[in-house]
């Protein structure tokens, strides 16, 4: 009986986060964002509103952006997740991160992880987006510091730099 009750309240999940395989036990009500932060210690993904409005918790699941506060960790069983920690390679910042730094596209940094992954996905789908397309793409990510202008500039600069490379 005790065993049965336990089966109903926790689940085993296996998934890859930033290329690393994890096998964890979670409560079904565990949100993906809390799983990433509290169970895996990946605190780069931020929690803002917790109801899908601010975009701070945006991560990629199987290559597609999702709100990590609107997905349960159990639903990521078998998935490949990319968080902001997965953008840098071998200690070297991703070009988008470099451009955010260069163009002052962040101040407090709270929205930055979500902005980066949203912009990363945009550039995967559109190598040379117009400023309007960039604004459209980040419309679901709230920033209270920058006025967005420098974020748009940074994303554009990244696209232009990769076009030249």
């Amino acid at each position: 009986m005790a065993k049965r009750a336990r089966e109903a309240t926790v689940r085993e999940i296996e998934l890859k986060v930033n290329g690393i395989a994890y096998h964890e036990t979670v409560e079904p009500r565990r949100l993906l964002v809390d799983f990433l932060r509290d169970d895996l210690g990946l605190t780069g993904t931020h929690i803002g509103c917790e109801y899908g409005v601010c975009g701070a918790c945006t991560v990629l699941v199987d290559g597609q952006s999702v709100r990590a506060c609107l997905m349960l960790a159990v639903q990521a069983d078998g998935a490949e997740v990319t968080t902001v920690e997965g953008l840098a390679r071998d200690g070297k910042l991703h070009p988008l991160q470099e451009a955010f730094w260069e163009h002052h596209a962040l101040q407090c940094g709270f929205c930055t992880p979500g902005m980066l992954l949203t912009a990363y996905e945009l550039l995967q789908n559109n190598r040379n987006p117009e400023p309007d397309a960039i604004r459209d793409a980040i419309a679901g990510n709230l920033c209270r510091c920058t006025g967005y202008q420098n974020i748009v500039t940074a994303v554009q600069a990244t696209a232009q730099a990769s076009g030249r490379a």
Partner: protein, 291 residues
């Protein structure tokens, strides 16, 4: 906040999901894309004792054409609907409306079945389904039934689905040639809910407006069909006078309320203006189609 504890089941078949619904006597909630249910749970506005996650029922994710009908499995993601070649060609109004739902990250998870079952009067898909005169298929303990779009929406977040029924499929008639369709909305930012939105499907016969269907969202307790405006345009054709009269009819038929986003008067005005624009655009598109 975090969702309260619940019992979690993830059935692999529709029959199993319906069995689970029946077992829990309607106290369970179906979790599809979760883009509306999980916010409500995080805010603890709903506390389902049991959550039935249908995301592992792969048989519910399909888009196919059959005998004049485009059928979409309930688990079709809105991103897939918006980008689907079949939907874009066979029922372009639905693809256009789907592209307006939320932001990309929301459309990646959000499903067409979940959207309709949630019955948010501000959402775009219900208005498009009304204009397309589509229907949904519901599976319950006593079998399967279809519910016409006109009968589906009962009130804010309230549908004709029984608590023990699972919405399994969405069906829309394939849009005939000679038709033009348009979805327009005004929202505060791209991706926000519409202050007002209008879905128009129009069939043109030379200079005549043979048939027009208008669905609106964001301006009432449910999505609404604008039947009086439809009658005016079918009787008088798409002339400047008829468009003005249709806009007036829409302003009278809608029942918006004030909120922090916009006043009721503004929403009413926008619904009229969007109707004129959407019908005029649909008329032009239908003209191109017909030739």
């Amino acid at each position: 906040m975090k969702p309260p504890a619940f019992r979690y089941v993830d059935p692999r078949s529709v029959a199993d999901a319906v069995g689970q619904l029946q077992e829990h006597g309607g106290g369970a909630k179906i979790l599809a894309g979760g883009q509306s249910l999980l916010p409500l749970m995080n805010l603890r506005l709903v506390r389902p004792p049991v959550v039935i996650d249908i995301n592992r029922i792969s048989a519910l994710a399909y888009i196919r054409e059959t005998a004049g009908v485009l059928a979409l499995g309930a688990l079709s993601r809105l991103h897939a609907v918006a980008g689907s070649d079949a939907v874009t060609r066979r029922a372009p109004l639905l693809a256009e409306a789907a592209a307006h739902v939320g932001h990309l990250a929301i459309r990646h998870r959000g499903t067409i079945g979940g959207n309709l079952a949630h019955a948010d009067p501000a959402s775009e898909i219900p208005a498009a389904l009304l204009a397309l005169e589509g229907e949904v298929v519901a599976r319950g303990p006593r079998g399967e039934r279809t519910i016409a779009a006109a009968d589906l929406f009962r009130g804010p977040l309230s549908s004709a689905l029984d608590p023990t029924e699972l919405l399994t499929e969405v069906r829309v008639p394939i849009t005939p040639s000679g038709c033009g369709s348009v979805f327009l909305e005004v929202s505060r930012r791209a991706g926000d809910f519409a202050l007002a939105g209008v879905a128009v499907l129009l069939q043109r016969d030379g200079g005549q407006c043979a048939r027009v269907r208008i669905g609106v969202c964001g301006v009432g307790n449910t999505p609404l069909r604008m039947r009086e405006a439809e009658r005016i345009l079918e009787r008088s054709g798409v002339t400047e006078d008829a468009l003005r009269a249709a806009a007036r009819a829409v302003e009278q038929a809608v029942a918006p309320s004030d909120d922090t986003q916009a006043s009721a008067d503004y929403r009413r005005h926008v619904a009229g203006v969007l109707t004129v624009r959407a019908v005029a655009q649909a008329w032009q598109r239908a003209g191109r189609e017909g030739r």
